[in-house]
């Protein structure tokens, strides 16, 4: 569906050349929800803008739905853009138009007749759950409602690809979840390919099938979301994974315990898929002569299975503790001894 080949984007700046995107190769499949995560300035915004030709690559080619976006111009590009919709962090609605009129705008651009437009607008309003707000102006809507208008507007011309530019970054956590649910629903119902960029691992965890991690213009890690959670390779990826698996207070609790418990060890266990549902702690206590103190635990759902993490304090004879850790390892559970360094 989407193919990015050897793409490089260089911006001229006062301090010389700024490499926003550097040698990126990506293949995104039809019907996939693909996430790109990175901190601001990583180049993800530039990358997503090359998918609909708002930015042109300095080198390389971008192909979306059979069209070479990086080559085409004028009316051909405009035609292609009707099939590649975009939603934005700040919604970018026209304040001078009502909800209905905003959703109608891309249909006007596509030259759809008035009666047909009205029909389509009504369908879309229902799809995104904005019944009763048709004649409101954007200024009268909440952030979540505005993004729903943005999504309805983006879906108006039955696009093949939906690009989400930090679409939930301006929303509160609850609204973020409802918008993400809506995106998953649309993906399943319409088979739409979704590419999103974000700096929140929560968004990736909740809806993406695959993820690419970007750092200073390059893709440093790429894979299935669950695999990346299970086995993050790069330092930056580990930091992102920690955003969801390890709340702030966990670290403090562990540090506190390490200071106070001179014996035993604090261990972090990570469970993927099946393993998350095994009674591993019960077995651990039955088979080993150790005491187990549960510090903190959490299970997160991703699109392709669950992912859990558990912090425990193991106390007992050193040899017993080592035996216990070996036992856990044998259960296909990730183990990391937390040390105070």
């Amino acid at each position: 569906m989407i193919s990015i080949k050897d793409v490089r984007k260089v911006f001229p700046s006062k301090q010389g050349q700024l490499k926003a995107v550097d040698d990126v190769n990506l293949e995104i499949k039809e019907g996939e929800i693909f996430g790109v995560i990175g901190y601001s300035g990583a180049g993800k915004s530039t990358l997503i803008r090359m998918l609909n030709g708002l930015e042109l690559p300095t080198e390389g080619s971008v192909t979306v739905a059979g069209r070479v976006i990086s080559k085409i111009r004028g009316s051909e590009l405009r035609k292609a853009r009707q099939e590649i919709s975009m939603i934005f962090q700040h919604f970018n609605l026209l304040w001078s138009r009502t909800v209905s009129e905003n959703i109608s705008f891309p249909l006007e651009i596509a030259g759809v007749g008035a009666a047909e437009r009205q029909k389509r607008v009504n369908e879309l309003i229902k799809l995104v759950g904005l019944e009763g707000r048709e004649n409101a102006y954007p200024s009268q809507l909440s952030g979540g409602q505005k993004q729903r208008v943005g999504i309805a507007r983006a879906l108006a011309n039955n696009p093949k690809v939906l690009l989400c530019d930090e679409a939930t970054s301006a929303l509160d956590p609850q609204t973020t979840d409802s918008i993400l649910d809506l995106l998953v629903d649309i993906n399943k119902r319409l088979g739409l390919t979704i590419v999103l960029i974000t700096h929140e691992m929560h968004v990736i965890r909740k809806i993406c099938h695959r993820v690419a991690v970007m750092e200073s213009g390059r893709i440093v890690e790429l894979g299935q979301v669950l695999d990346v959670f299970k086995n993050p390779q790069q330092k930056i990826t580990k930091r992102f994974v920690k955003q969801v698996t390890e709340p702030e207070e966990t670290k403090e609790t562990a540090e506190h315990l390490l200071e106070h418990c001179k014996t035993g060890r604090v261990v972090q266990l990570t469970f993927i898929g099946e393993a998350a549902e095994q009674p591993i702690i019960t077995n651990l206590i039955r088979n080993n002569n150790v005491t187990v103190n549960i510090l903190q635990g959490k299970i997160s759902q991703t699109q392709s299975g669950s992912y859990g993490s558990l912090f425990i304090h193991l106390d007992g004879h050193d040899t017993e503790v080592d035996k216990a850790i070996d036992y856990i390892r044998s259960q296909q559970v990730g183990v990391e001894v937390v040390t105070n360094e």
Binding site: L54, F88, N92, R153
Partner: protein, 223 residues
């Protein structure tokens, strides 16, 4: 009886005719300024850095023309435009003779306000329209103009009020209207009541323009 003593010099018919002349000059020049100013302001905006028709030379030329005509004092502009006006209207007397100077004096002033109004539009909205495959024409008619309309209307209100003032100045050198009346009948013949009434009528015109402008602006603004 009193009234007659205070306003004995006033020929009300003449006053009414002068008022109509002022309204005529203001009306025509406001409409023309609105169109020409939006045209120039839109060009200034579109050719500026980072916009759809980014073009530095064109931008510099338009900007220079706008700045020059905006800087010339109106009374001097009328004199400078005499050959142009003679060519166009074939006369320097009467309301129509004032129009070229009024429009050329006001349009660049308004063009700058239009440019400022357009710059206030969120860049993201223009980007969104582009991402939907909008043509430049669609972006101008369906995004730029509607989204800046409150600024365009409040700008033309200010310009219209300035134009009322300009018509009075144009009146002094023969264009007719209330300014002409106040100067010839009021000042030169020392009939202060004529000057006073002409001033009051001009004030009323200005207040009405401001009032209408404010109402339309607040009606349009859905932010």
């Amino acid at each position: 009886m009193n009234e007659e003593r205070y306003f004995q010099d006033i020929d009300w018919e003449e006053m009414w005719e002068a008022t109509l002349q002022t309204l005529y000059m203001t009306g025509i020049s406001v409409v023309a300024t609105f169109i020409l100013g939006i045209l120039l302001g839109m060009l200034l905006f579109l050719t500026s850095k980072g916009n759809i028709w980014e073009n530095r030379p064109v931008n510099i030329v338009i900007s220079a023309i706008v700045n020059i005509f905006r800087s010339i004092p109106f009374i001097i502009l009328i004199v400078l435009l005499i050959p142009f006006t003679m060519f166009l209207v074939k006369s320097m007397i009467g309301e129509n003779a004032a129009l070229p100077a009024l429009i050329i004096g006001a349009a660049p002033f308004y063009a700058r306000m239009v440019e400022i109004g357009l710059r206030e539009i969120d860049k993201g909205v223009i980007e969104a329209a582009k991402s939907m495959g909008a043509t430049t024409g669609t972006i101008i008619w369906k995004v730029l103009l509607p989204e800046s309309m409150p600024a365009l209307v409040s700008g033309i209100t200010v310009t219209a009020i300035a134009l009322v003032g300009y018509t009075a100045m144009a009146g002094v050198i023969g264009a007719g209207g209330l300014g002409n009346l106040a100067y010839l009948e009021g000042f030169q013949r020392n009939q202060n009541d004529v000057t006073l009434i002409a001033t009051i009528i001009i004030l009323i015109i200005v207040f009405v323009i401001q009032f209408i402008g404010d109402i339309i602006t607040s009606k349009l603004d859905k932010r």
